[in-house]
Amino acid sequence: MSLRRIAIGAAAAALLGGTALTTVPAAAQETIYVPLLTYRTGPFAGSGIPIADGMHDYLRMLNERDGGIGGVKLAIEECETGYDTKKGVECYEATKGKNPVMYNPYSTGITLQLIPKAAVDKVPLLSMAYGLSASADGTVFPWIFNPPATYWDGASVFIRYVAEKEGGFNKLKGKKIGLLHLDAPYGKEPIPLLENLARQYEFELKLYPVPAQDMQNQGSVWLNVRRDRPDWIYLQGWGAMNPTAVKEAVKAGFPIGKLVGVWWAGGDDDARAGGPEAKGYKSLDFHAAGADFPVIKDIQKHVVDKGLSKYPKDKIGDNLYNRGVYNSMLIAEAIRNAQKVTGKKVVTGEEVRRGLETLNITEARLKELGMEGFAAPVRVSCEDHNGHHKVYVAEWDGTKWTKSTDWIEPMKDKVRPLIEAAAKDYAAKNTGWPKRTETCDRPS
C-alpha cells in the first residue's frame, strides 16, 4: 500500500511540476547570447557530435582568447534537439526570450519550422548549407541565410566535376548518373536540379531512395545499382546512411572513386567505416579538414588544452569538427559585422540580421582569422542570402580527407532561377507571407 501512496505522490508531483514551470533566467545584459541547437543524441548523433563541439569550441576560443567579440563576451548555450523537430521547437521557444542574436537549427526539419517564426520574432536564422534552398532569395526570406552554398549548388558542382573527369560536358551524353539519397525532403532536394541538367546534357538520372528506417539495410538499393551500373553516384545521405553506403559500394564492386557525397556525407567516420577499400571516396566540401591551421591551433591552445572541449583531442580537425568551426566563424563574423554597422557593442537579433546581409569575408579577413586556405571567401548580399560560393571535392586517402580538386564554381545561372522560382512559389502558397520591408544596408 505504501508503494501505491508514493506513486500517487509522485504522479501528483509530476503533474504539478508540469504546470509550475520554472522561469527562464534572462541573460545578463553585457553578453551576446548565442544559442546553439545541437544534437549529441539520437540516430544522427554520429554526425551531430563533432559539429556541436566544433561550433562550441570556436566561440569558446573567442571568449578565452579575445574576451568575446568586440570586447563583449558571448554567452554560449547548447540546447539538445536529438535531431527531433519537436524538441527543436521546444529549444527555440525556451531560448527565444533570452535575446538570442541568431539561430542555427542544424536540422532541415527544424529549419522549416523556424522559417516563418524568424520574421515574427525578429531573429535571423543561419542554416549553413542546409535547410530550404529557396531561402537563398533574400527578397522573399529576409531573415533566413544559408551560405556558402545550397544543395542545388552542390549537385551542380558534382555534375561539373563529372564533366571535367569525363572530358567535357559533351561527354556526359548517354552517361548514367545515380542519386543515392535519403528518402526524406533533405535527400530529395537535388532532384529538380539534376533533372534539369539531365535534360540539358542528356545524361540519364537514376534515383536510389533509401527509406529512413532502412538506412543501415541498403541491400536492395545496391542491387539496383548493380543492375543499372551507373557511371557516377551522388550520395545525399546523412547519419548512419553514409558509412553503410560506403561499405555497400565497396561490397557491390562499385568504383569507390566515382561515389561522390554531398558535404554532409563527408564525415571522417563515414569514410572510415569502409576500411582501406574506401580510399578514394569523395565528398564535396567548403572548408578544409585537418588541424594545420592557426585557427585550429588557437582552439587547441585556448580551449582543448584547458580541458574546456568535450571532443577527443586526437580527433580535433576532423572534417565535421571543422565544419562546426566554420559555422561558428560565420556566426562570429556576422556579430562583428553587426557591431561595425550599428556602432554598438551589444547587438540584437535584428542588428545581426543586418550584419549577415553585409557579410563579406575576404581572403585578407580569412588570413586574419587564421583561416588562410581553410575556406574560400564568403559574400552575402541583400538579394542573395547564399552567395553560391565555390566548393571543392575532397578525397579520402584512407586516414584523412584531402583536397583533391581546386575550388569549383557552381552553375549559378542554373541554380539561381530555380531558387527564385521556388521562393516565389513558397510565398504564393503561404498566403500572408510578409513582403520584405527590411531596408538594405550598404556593404561596408
Partner: protein, 366 residues
Amino acid sequence: MFYREAGQFKTTYAADMAVFPILQDKIGIAVIVAAAVLLPFLGAAGIVSPQTQNFLLQVVAIPFLIFSLASIGLNLLTGYTGLLSLGTAGFMGVGAYACYKLTTYFPGVNIIVWVLASGFFAAGIGVVFGLPSLRIKGFYLAVATLAAQFFLQWCFIRIPWLYNENASGAIEVPQRTLLGVPVTGPTATAETRYFVVLAIVAGLTWIASNLVHGRIGRSWMAVRDMDIAAELMGIKLFDTKLLAFAVSSFYCGVAGALLVFLWYGGAEPEVFSINQSFLILFMVIIGGLGSLVGSYFGAALIYILPIVLRLLPESLGIPIGGATIEHLTFMIVGALIIFFLIVEPHGLARLWQIGKQKLRTWPFPY
C-alpha cells in the same frame, strides 16, 4: 471530509448515470475548465513574464492538448475496443495532409471546418486498415497496423501531389483567419491558437465521453472483454470494430491536423514517424487503458515530464551538459514507465480513482 456525496440524492435515472454524478466533481471540472480558459491571461495579469507565458502556451499547453486528443483517439481503439494499434501517427498524418489539401483547394472555407473535416478522411483510411482486425487479433494486429504506419508515411514522402509539389517536400501552413483574427501561420498568436485547440479538444472529449458511456461504448467494451461472447450476445463485430477504427482515426486525424496547423506550422513526413505512434501508445497505457481522463494524465506525464526534467537542472543551477540531461531524461522516463506499471498497471487513471476513494473516506481509514 469534503469530497463526499452524503446528502446528494439521485431522483432520476439520468442523474444516476451522469458522467459527473457528484457535486464536488462538477465543481472540480468547472474549476479545471476555468483554469484552462484563464491560463493565457497569466501573462497579462503579471503573474508570469510574457516569455514564460508564451513558452507555457506554445511548448506546454498546446501540444499537451493535441497529444491528449490523439491519445483519446487511440484509447477509444485500444483501451475501449481492445484493438492494439501502432499506426496512430500514420492516421494523424492523413488528417494533416487532408487538411492541407482541402485548404489549398478551398482557401475560402474556414480552416476550423477543414480541421474537423480532415478527420473524416482519416476515418476512411482507418476503416480500410481496420479490415484485417476482423480476422487478426492481439499483437498480430499490432503488427498489421504497422503496415498502415509505414505505408502512409511512404505516401507522404513519395506522392508529390500530397504536399503540392513543394520543393522542400514538406507542407507549410498558410495563414488563415477566423473572424479576421489569424489562427494559423506565423502571425497567429499563441493565445488564439490555444483557445482554438482548447475548444476543439474539449468539444471532442465531451463527444467521446458521451460515446463511451452510451450504447456504442458499451458494445466496444463488450468486444474488448471477449469478442466471441459479444458476438453471441448480438453485437455485430464487423460494424463495431470498424466503427471503433473510424472514430479512433477521426480523433487522430483531427489531432494530426491540429498538430501541424496550430502547433508546428509546417511538417516533414518525419513528424508522423513510428516514434510518434509509440509515444501516443505510451500515453494511453501509462494514463490508463479505457479512461478518457487517463489520456490527459498520460499525455501530461509522457510529454510534459521530459520538458520539466530538461529545465530542472538549469533552474536548480546544476551544471550538466544538454546531452547528459537528454540521456538522463531517457533513463528517467524509461524507469518511470516501468515504475508506474509496477505500482499500478491500470495506469494513472486508476491511481486517480484510488486517490478519490481515499479522499472520500478521509480522515478515516475506511
